[in-house]
């Protein structure tokens, strides 16, 4: 309680600040104030797009010198001699065209990259044009005094219209007239200055060129046109793209320019032209410091996301996902809370795949502690903010997007197996050695049968599968009410037989301005995602793990049309049967809803409260039929139904104060949040089904399980943030959040997470402004503390668990050894960063060095099992992640042919600094291949090191403790053999545009990581009595004296299959992840068709992977089941390969 009070008191900051300064009138002139206020608490950030266009008059002649400004923004451009202009803006912005003697024209951008307008000659009263300049802020809905003087003065200038030698006019910027602008005539000494109303008067002859200059603005030249009147709008000195970019930072948005912390931002433009099955894929390869690993290529399958390294061993290292302000259920690998192990394993459900990526306006990743600590206890692994689209006032648009395509198994990624002749030769060898050990054994008939049959099991289990998506979205609204609504359908067939994913999603976002002070917003998203899963990784009979090793001399189907089986290895299923017969279906219904009200007491003070909910219903149907799957035959098959309801609600209230005091700008935020989550399972299971006909459990003869239980957790928080900047030059940010979580011990429930950041924008300094090369330069530094609470809901309790029945009576057993003092995992992070813009921002760089130290790890410390438990959850140990990351964007060509490149790279170094007392090492993974040991990267590979094949015995020799050759028997001979962490990883995107064509190519890479390829073990170990294996066996040892790297077959002997570097491979890769070619119909045609945009494109995803890795795909992360998997890294356990997907699609807007 003490902690709460402490944090609550922080809320008073804005309150006191308000009372002290309330009397000050809001600065009339400063639009920045207005802008910041507006963007901070509420609105979405739009990523910018580049728009090019031309301005012509009614005679189709180019108009030079037209001021093209973005409505409501401080961005503008002036058309050149050809009437052409280029501007960066939000895709949903509107452009305003102002040119003396022409009527003001407003044109919505509607996501177009090209805009051509025709200006009409103005009526006699040219004041109209100028008055409109002041109109531009109206969209904000905030009253602003209209500067009346320019209008007046211009009106009056009409009277001097005929004075040939005097040119009069007004100089203004977005905010109104500018005082003190020097007006000179090019090549002449004559000059004048504007007065307080921005007016000037200068002697000039027709044809003279006037030069307007003032500090802080771009110099501007325009020739007198003989009318004696010239109104000019000046641009502020160039800023980086980022300087006008607004990024979401949690509980508000901030201008990129005055952001002191490290945030990666992915805008709608980067999302829109890509074919994305789910949101995490949008981040993949796009953000520095963020590694997105596809766990498997199965549609709708799980992903692994790490922001600046792995910080924990047993608590999840997944980031927090916040969708429109709601921290959502974001399990990317939901496997359910029950121990139901269906045939050896079920792949997880990516809960995030139930959101439609097309609804997303932007994604921000808060990486350093200064940005993320506003989410305190859940922020140690970074925060991913997802903002969905909103409607724009005064517009009405429809967007229709569709694509069709197909996925296939990249054929070059298949394993090369022995053919039947090679297989039978190998098997004869195998049984020769078997008979040496057991003279009574004989070679089974099946092994030598069908010498002419050559079944390719990889061909048998893979297929080409269709993929498609259709979406319709409508957005727009009036000044008071805006809407965005969408409906989407997506279906992705999996390349393994019988695997499938489809999603139907609908969204309504509504905003309503009740009056000047009160505003309401609501967002509702409903999704149904259906996932037909198949046995794959983690499943002992998964076709990709075991099935492909089926003997090549047995057919898929027998003569009667049933499935054929390997009779020698009775535990092997027919892989096609394993895919086709079982049912493993998951339907996820998800409702994401949010309502908020915002009340603006005075322009600088706003109270906002929101109520959000995220409800997922995951409904799974399992059926393992009695006939055809041998391991379930004796039970008569099993069927199960599992319902999971995961629901949370959250209430957040914030008070925001935002004000400019001369050169001092202050933005303060305080708030509190309460969140409650409840998870419920119902699981029913039967066995003994009469036949394969009915997959529902009512047909089963024996009730095996009937379980239901709930779990709950809750978190209560108070937080505050203060941003201060002086002249937009010196920037300070401080955050404080206090969290209380139900997941920790009573006495350690509360914790406080502070952070501080400072930045210095050198470009605002005079000495930098003299260097023309540098257009933007900002130094940033931050420090802060964040927490992690991603553990089980009741980990602090020692528990007795029920359901352990015997003799038909209820039984309870001691199930968990808890720690009543359990507390947060704490991460301290420092970050030093720099934002650089060079050559007029043709090159921009965001670079960061960070150091993260995580202590009090939430760790399931392995304890001696004679305790009756295998581990105990406690706080112990330290892990360090440090690294360097950068995002580089260059605009290589900006003319007719445009070429831009984005590159990001991350160099992360992970190290275990300390383990719990008395624990020298923690082993994890299958066969304990991963190790956590002090001084080593987390999850380093630990196994035997191969010397080679002994020419005398044909067995593999391993390196013993003293370098002597040994068998893989003594654990003490194991050593560190590899590291699953890459030296660096990143992504590169090149986009090209020429005329109406656009082309983009995106690559993603990882270098220096090792992978333990379990499939190599399967294909090279040589002790299974009937398995086919890799073609390498052709070069095996056959007799003493043979020198080779392939040993002999070893029936019943583990030695050659021991966990060793023999199965460890370099996992470096470069993937051509996405290649897209698009063509937009020229405007002349689209106008005739009455559409605003029509683009057609073709895409290849996962076009090619350059790698030395032998497996299906080097981007693997087998998890062996659960979400919090502990020490399992860089492990390929028969992962579902990533498909190559070809699609063709259309984007249409009207």
């Amino acid at each position: 309680m003490k902690h709460t009070l402490y944090a609550i008191s922080l809320l008073f900051i804005p309150y006191w600040a308000l009372s002290a300064n309330d009397a000050l009138p809001s600065s009339k002139k400063n639009l920045n104030d207005l802008n910041l206020f507006w963007t901070t608490p509420f609105d979405a950030q739009d990523s910018l797009i580049t728009v090019q266009g031309s301005v012509k008059d009614e005679q189709n002649k180019a108009i030079a010198g037209t001021i093209v400004s973005v409505k409501g923004e401080t961005i503008n451009a002036v058309s050149d001699e050809q009437g052409l202009f280029t501007l960066e803006m939000k895709p949903d912005a509107s452009l305003i065209f102002n040119k003396t003697d022409f009527t003001r024209h407003e044109e919505p951008v509607n996501n177009r990259s090209e805009i051509h307008v025709v200006l009409k000659t103005a009526e006699a009263d040219s004041a109209v044009g100028n008055a409109s300049i002041t109109d531009i802020t109206d969209t904000t809905g905030i009253p602003r005094p209209t500067p009346s003087s320019p209008t007046t003065s211009i009106s009056s200038s009409d009277s001097t219209k005929n004075d040939q030698n005097v040119v009069q006019g007004t100089v203004s910027d977005k905010n109104g007239p500018i005082t003190g602008v020097t007006v000179s005539i090019k090549g002449q000494p004559t000059s004048a200055a504007t007065n307080e109303q921005g007016q000037f008067s200068i002697q000039a002859n027709p044809g003279d060129v006037l030069v307007f200059s003032v500090v802080g603005y771009k110099a501007y030249e325009e020739s007198t046109n003989g009318s004696g009147k010239l109104d000019v709008l000046l641009n502020e000195e160039s800023k980086t793209i980022e300087s006008v970019q607004v990024v979401a930072v949690g509980y508000g948005t901030m201008e990129r320019a005055t952001l002191a912390s490290s945030v990666s931002s992915i805008g709608a433009d980067e999302l829109e032209n890509e074919v994305l099955p789910s949101i995490p894929q949008a981040i993949q390869g796009k953000a520095g410091g963020v590694q997105v690993t596809q766990k498997s290529g199965s549609p709708g399958g799980g992903l692994n996301i790490r922001v600046r390294g792995t910080t924990s061993i047993n608590a999840s290292s997944d980031p927090l996902y916040v969708v429109d302000g709601i921290p959502v259920n974001s399990t990317t690998n939901f496997t359910g809370g029950s121990d139901f192990n269906f045939g050896g394993g079920t792949q997880g459900i990516n809960v995030l795949s139930s959101l439609n990526p097309s609804d997303v306006q932007s994604i921000e990743i808060l990486k350093d502690a200064a940005s993320s600590s506003i989410y305190g206890a859940r922020a140690a692994n970074g925060v991913v903010l997802i903002t969905t689209k909103k409607g724009d006032p005064g517009t009405s648009q429809f967007h229709f997007n569709m694509y069709e395509g197909y996925s296939e198994m990249p054929s070059e990624r298949k394993y090369e197996m022995m053919n039947t002749e090679q297989y039978q030769d190998y098997m004869r060898d195998y049984y020769y050695f078997r008979q040496q050990e057991d003279p009574t054994s004989t070679i089974p008939d099946q092994i030598v049968a069908n010498p002419n049959m050559n079944t390719d099991w990889q061909d048998a289990v893979f297929r080409k599968a269709g993929t498609r998506s259709y979406e319709l979205a409508a957005s727009g609204g009036s000044e008071k009410t805006q809407y965005y609504t969408s409906l989407g359908y997506m279906r992705q067939g999996g390349i393994l037989l019988n695997s499938d994913f489809n999603r139907i999603s609908g969204r309504i976002n509504l905003n309503h301005q009740h009056n000047d002070k009160l505003r309401f917003a609501t967002a509702i998203n409903v999704t149904r995602a259906e996932n037909d899963r198949v046995q794959e990784e983690n499943s002992k009979e998964g076709p990709t793990k075991n099935g492909i090793f089926s003997p090549p001399n047995i057919p898929v189907y027998d003569a009667q049309g049933g499935y054929a089986y390997d009779q020698v290895t009775a535990s092997r299923e027919n892989p096609v049967a394993m895919l086709m017969l079982p049912t493993n279906n998951a339907q996820t219904w998800r409702v994401l809803g949010n309502v908020s009200a915002e009340y603006q007491f005075i322009p600088s003070l706003t109270l906002k409260t929101s109520f959000g909910t995220d409800i997922s219903f995951i409904d799974e149907t399992f059926f393992m039929p009695p006939n055809g799957i041998r391991s379930f035959a004796s039970q008569g098959g099993i069927g199960a139904r599992r319902n999971t309801r995961d629901q949370l609600w959250i209430n957040e209230t914030t008070l925001t104060y935002d004000k400019l005091f001369g050169d001092h700008q202050l933005n303060a935020l305080g708030g509190f949040s309460v969140q409650e989550s409840r998870l419920e399972f119902v699981h029913a299971q039967r066995s003994n089904f009469p036949s394969n006909d009915i997959e529902h459990i009512n047909a089963g003869g024996v009730i095996m399980r009937a379980d239901a239980y709930p779990e709950e957790w809750a978190i209560a928080s108070a937080f505050a943030r203060v941003n201060y900047n002086y002249k937009r030059k010196y920037i300070l940010t401080a955050n404080l959040r206090t969290d209380g979580s139900s997941r920790f011990g009573r006495d350690n429930r509360w914790a406080t997470f502070p952070s501080f950041a400072a930045a210095w924008r050198l470009t605002e300094e005079d000495f930098i402004q003299t260097i023309p090369v540098i257009s933007d330069l900002k130094l940033r530094a931050s420090w802060g503390i964040t927490g992690n609470q991603n553990i089980g809901n009741y980990a602090s309790y020692s528990l007795y668990a029920g359901g352990n029945n015997y003799l038909g009576m209820p039984g309870f057993i001691p199930s968990v050894l808890g720690d009543r003092n359990l507390k947060w995992e704490t991460t301290r992070q420092s970050d030093i960063g720099v934002d650089v813009g060079l050559f007029d921002n043709r090159i921009s760089i965001l670079a960061d060095y960070y150091h993260k130290k995580t202590s009090d790890l939430l760790i399931g410390v392995p304890i001696l099992t004679n305790a009756g438990y295998t581990n105990r959850f406690t706080n112990s140990g330290d892990i360090e992640n440090k690294g360097f990351e950068f995002e580089l964007t260059t605009r290589n060509f900006v003319g007719d042919f445009k070429w831009s490149t984005s590159l990001n790279m991350t160099f992360n170094r992970n190290k275990v600094l300390a383990l719990p007392d008395g624990v020298n090492e923690i082993l994890g993974g299958v066969s304990s291949i991963n190790i956590a040991r002090e001084g080593l990267p987390l999850g380093s590979f630990y196994g035997w090191r191969m010397i080679g094949v002994n020419p005398e015995t044909g067995m593999i020799d391993y390196e013993g403790r003293n370098g002597e050759p040994v068998r893989a028997e003594d654990d003490q001979d194991r050593q560190i053999i590899g590291d699953p962490n890459p030296n660096f990883f990143g992504g590169i995107t090149n986009t090209f545009q020429y005329g109406n064509f656009d082309f983009s190519i995106m690559g993603q890479f990882s270098y220096g990581n090792d992978i333990f390829n379990y499939n190599l073990a399967n294909g090279l170990e040589g002790y299974n009595a009937s398995s086919n294996a890799f073609v390498d066996w052709v070069d095996r040892w056959r007799q003493p004296g043979d020198v080779t790297d392939m040993p002999r077959p070893t029936p019943g002997d583990f030695n050659n299959g021991a966990v060793s570097d023999r199965f460890l491979e370099d996992g470096s890769f470069f993937r051509l992840r996405n290649i897209t070619l698009g063509y937009s119909l020229p405007q002349s045609i689209t106008e005739r068709m009455k559409v605003s945009k029509l683009r057609a494109y073709v895409t290849v995803q996962n076009a090619y992977v350059f790698t030395k890795y032998r497996g299906f795909d080097p981007e693997v992360s087998s998890s062996h089941g659960g979400a919090n998997t502990g020490l399992i890294y860089g492990y390929d356990y028969g992962s579902y390969p990533q498909p190559r997907i070809f699609t063709a699609g259309v984007n249409l807007s009207f």
Partner: protein, 454 residues
């Protein structure tokens, strides 16, 4: 305006103050915390029931504790020749073998469940539990603890003798005890439990499926027999066995196979109960069906002489010219009960102990053996046994036949060192015990000591 400020201020305060702690106090909804569990007789009973349930898992009597010794005894094979099983058969065992670690882990979780009852039930207030039930639950826990330590001491030799319920603050690293110390504890636990346990439970099933006086007595006889290899006091085993035999609570059933094809026969003294929901993992993978993992080595057919009624039931020929274990017939669903102690074994224990104690093939000793032989349809004359040694050796071999696939032969052969004679691949007596799991030693190399030879 002021009203709104005040109101919002009040809301902020209210939300801050209103019982954050109760909002955050989320006790488990479907589980019970350890410190509040033992508060009623029914809960104490559930803890006892749960303790038995732990013995049904595949790491314990559900599979590992039966099939692993059968591999060691050379009786069975794995369908896919998995080295992790085959290595038991070839007595070429690595300390990293997963089944060694699994058994260790599974058994100690049962022991911890028992220790919790032994520690907490005596502390329960008087009005929450009757004295009769209090004694019963403690007795059951002692019996189960003894049964499991008995397996551990036979399988691993020196083991940590943990007799306390594991708590959060406890250092669970305790040094291993010598087998003699473990046996002393077994005798103590069983002797105490005999006084605490009832003769019978409410139902016939429970009387077989839960510990009784007789079950503790019978286990004590077996424990004494093994302890006698150290102490030489076979009379204790003979006396304990005699008490069971003379109680006449148990009879050999005529139909040998009915012990497994039906449940809880008159012969059964302690029988682990499986049903549709508490399934027997071993039964589901040991029969002639598509799920088969374990089958029988044809070579062991020669164990039986012609006419032995047990052979056809114990070993049956199925598809693919393979032989299968016959003692797990109830496989669909796998609700096969597992008789852990039955009268036939007690008779054989008595025969051996009596002969050794009296140092003669006495009538008393022979008659016990003969009862077992007669039921099997085998006739032997007392005169065939000229020495005690030959008599004892025959009893060992008879036990192998009688208790085939019951996980007993290997330990019995090791106890009498007959194993060295029977198994070519067994180099020396170091092989009598399994290795301490590597992962355990790696955790506390300062405390745990590996068995010699590993």
């Amino acid at each position: 305006m002021n009203t709104i400020y005040k109101l919002s201020f009040a809301i902020l305060l209210l939300a801050g103050f209103t019982s954050c702690d109760s909002f955050l106090d989320r006790k488990p909804l479907a589980q019970v915390t350890n410190d509040s569990y033992f508060n009623s007789e029914t809960n104490a009973n559930s803890a006892t029931i749960g303790m038995y349930r732990t013995m049904t898992s595949s790491f314990t009597y559900g599979q590992t504790m039966v099939i692993v010794p059968e591999f060691s005894a050379g009786h069975v094979s794995h369908a896919s020749i998995f080295p992790e099983y085959e290595n038991f058969k070839t007595h070429n065992l690595a300390a990293t073998n997963p089944w060694v670690a699994n058994a260790w882990q599974g058994i100690y979780s049962t022991i911890n469940a028992a220790n919790n009852i032994i520690a907490q039930v005596p502390e329960m207030p008087e009005n929450t539990i009757s004295e009769e039930k209090r004694a019963q639950f403690i007795g059951e826990a002692k019996f189960v603890r003894a049964l499991n330590y008995f397996f551990l001491v036979r399988a691993f030799g020196r083991v940590p003798l943990k007799l306390t319920a594991t708590t959060e603050d406890e250092d669970v690293a305790i040094p291993q005890s010598e087998p003699s110390v473990v046996y002393e504890q077994l005798v103590k636990d069983l002797t105490e439990s005999i006084t605490e346990l009832p003769e019978a439970h409410e139902t016939a099933e429970a009387t077989k499926g839960r510990a009784t006086k007789n079950a503790a007595q019978a286990l004590l006889a077996k424990v004494y027999l093994y302890q006698a290899s150290i102490t030489g006091e076979y009379a204790l085993a003979a006396n304990a066995a005699t008490e069971i035999i003379n109680s006449e609570n148990f009879q050999l059933v005529d139909n040998f196979g009915s012990i497994w094809s039906s449940e809880n026969t008159a012969e059964s003294i302690f029988e682990l109960q499986f049903d549709d929901q508490t399934t027997n993992p071993l039964a589901s993978v040991s029969n002639d069906n598509a799920s088969m993992l374990f089958y029988v080595d044809a070579s062991i057919l020669s164990l039986f002489e012609e006419g032995d009624k047990r052979q056809d039931f114990s070993i049956f020929r199925g598809s693919n010219d393979r032989y299968y274990m016959g003692k797990f017939p109830n496989a669909t669903p796998p609700s096969q009960n597992l008789p852990i102690i039955r009268l036939a074994e007690i008779l054989l224990i008595h025969a051996e102990a009596e002969a050794r104690a009296s140092n003669s093939v006495s009538d008393l000793a022979f008659s016990s053996l003969q009862k077992v032989l007669t039921r099997a349809g085998v006739t032997k004359e007392k005169s065939e046994f000229t020495t005690v040694d030959s008599f004892v050796k025959f009893i060992q071999e008879e036990k192998e036949r009688e208790l085939l696939f019951e996980g007993e032969t290997w330990f019995d052969f090791c106890r009498t060192e007959l194993a060295l004679e029977k198994y070519e691949t067994l180099a020396n007596e170091n092989g009598f015990v399994y290795p301490i799991p590597t992962a355990q030693i790696n955790l506390r190399p300062d405390i745990l000591v590996q068995n010699p030879g590993y």
